[in-house]
Amino acid sequence: MKRFVLLFLAGILLLILQTTWLSLFPIQRIRPDFLLIFTLYLAFLFPPFLGGILAFFMGYLMDLFSGNTLGLYALSRTIAFFATQFLKERFYLEGFSFQFLFVFAFSILEGGLLLVLVNGLEPASFENLYLSLLAFLLPQSFCTGLAALLLFPLFQKGTSLLLPQPEQGIKAKG
């Protein structure tokens, strides 16, 4: 429970950074998505039950504060989490190039998923959204990928300080 609350509060903190400090970016449209990076990080290091619920809530928070009326992120972030869980055995989170490519790819995939969902649920609005998605998806994903290089080590540091893993202790002893 303590882990859940701490991680949830960390998510809220990232959301606040995203909605206030990141709006100072010169190009407002292109700014990194901290919550997506956090969700992917959770998938690498946390079990599916705790992480899955957290990922759902991270998406829910995004929906709550965004102009998106449908609640798309609660679904897309949960899918992103479990997809990463599925893939995590095949990859190592270490290495800048992998971190960048992984987040970049997921950011693009999420953009595609949003398009599909909006097209299915609100075809009238689809035309407006897909033009902007196509125009900004690549630079936006690139920016999120770059931010991941900074945030992944920070998250790792924060996790080791706030949430010491019992397994790590056993390994150290062994």
Binding site: I12, L15, T19, L24, D33, A74, F82, S125, N128
Partner: protein, 295 residues
Amino acid sequence: MRIRDFFLSRRYNLFIFITLLLLFALVLMSLRAKQRKGVELFDAFLMEICSPLQKGSTFIIRTVQGTFQKYIFLVNLEKENRRLRQRIAELQEENNRAKEMKLAMDRLKNLLQFRQENSQTVIGAEVIGQDPSSWFKSVTIDKGERDGVKKGMAVISAAGVIGQILKTAPHYATVLLITDYNSAIDSIVQRTRAKAIVEGNGENQCQLKYLLRSEEVAVGDAVVTSGLAGNFPKGLMVGEVKKVDKKGHGVFQYAELVPSVDLTKLEEVFVVMEPIPPPPPPKEEKVKKGKKTKK
């Protein structure tokens, strides 16, 4: 026995958990799509937790920005001083002319009896956060249900229309900006009175939809609210036509609009509290009808 083991296995539990979580997200989405609302109590609770932090963060940003603007960026002062003195002289002359114009405008205002300006009540609100995603356009304000703010209310500034209330919590609310792809406002072109719907296109621009091809619209034309939708007062500036495209076939022409308000730099806004009643039918028609019946 094997089936029982499978059902009790961790892998099976995980599968059920994933399915349930995804189903829950889908149900939530379909509820929102149908009713245009979420789990209101829970939404309001989360918003009440997050928004004070957002407010604090915005306060810090503004204080830091203010410090930089007031003390650190003071370079080339003397040069600027000379330029400003010259500008003051120009402005004084302009001020005299403006006073004359203001007097004339006051007289005209009284004559036209701007009923709506007197009847509508607005409350000021501070923008405390931007949209967390890059694809949608909204802001969070520090006024909510306790201040009388309700879903659908118009949000304006001195320069024109900003958007409308999308979600509310007791002390905070989310405003859907006119540039969001979900936004649509009933409007008219000020010069020609041509009717159209202003829709957001996701960028810091809007487009005029359902504008008849036969209507004359030019670049630079002002577009104002029609007052027909009920929540927006009539005659509020929405933006200026930037591009008109009559190419192609069909009944309608296409036009792009630049909002009159810079929605990327919003700090304070006004929420229109009273719903505006639909305007009465024009008097001219009544006169004509009266004449017809007399005949």
